[in-house]
Symmetry: C2
Subunit: 119 residues, 2 copies
Amino acid sequence: MDERQALASFSALSQETRLQIVRMLVSAGPSGMPAGAIAEKAQVSPSNVSFHLKELERSGLITQKRESRSIIYSADYEALGSLIRFLMEDCCAGHPEICVPAAAVAPCCAPTMEGNANE
Amino acid sequence: MDERQALASFSALSQETRLQIVRMLVSAGPSGMPAGAIAEKAQVSPSNVSFHLKELERSGLITQKRESRSIIYSADYEALGSLIRFLMEDCCAGHPEICVPAAAVAPCCAPTMEGNANE
DNA sequence: TCAATTATTCAAGGATTGTTGAAATATGGA
DNA sequence: TCCATATTTCAACAATCCTTGAATAATTGA
């Protein structure tokens, strides 16, 4: 991830509604959620959610696909991982005391490492 | 780290000059840098750097201390680590495929783990 | 084709953020 | 005390971002 993309990602995550949407989509998993459901859950108007979804897509953190009348949005896990790596590489450079504690958390969400080719 | 602080941190990092300053301060290490040197290296005016430094401090990502006539700014490693953890916990929840690749990067900056009490 | 559903786009206005240069504040030395 | 240094604060303006509601577009079923 280059600096330009990192800036766009930070900008995308710096807004309450958008952060909420990202969390929502991550926990919704790969099947994603239609725009309408996102709007309802986030309690914002359709046009407003559309504005924020476009912003998030522009940053690369989410993707969309049409499915019949609905447009389904999903979190882009690879982009999220890249952003975490950016923060680690960038900010840890020469200073393990930053990212060692962060790394300690990683196992919490990696219960099945054996099946994981590191793509 | 709560959502409010995470939002402030993302907002702080979403501006080019400020991201540059954070990178600068992290690689400068615990001794930090005086405002003037930061301004010079970032090529912005004193008043402008002051504006951004205040923003970064408000987010908790950096700290300041006066030292004679200079004001020395340093990266707050703990805050940066917390932000990385926030992104991991938040975004990995139930989806190891996000943070496993990120975790794989961690060792790159942890060459001396033995001396590290995890504070 | 017509109506209903789902969602986006657009323009307008308000709110927030960023930049600039001048004035103010704090510190230390002559 | 007076001056130089290092930095911040302030006010004004420019730029960007967010919200709203109305209009538009795409899809499906009757």
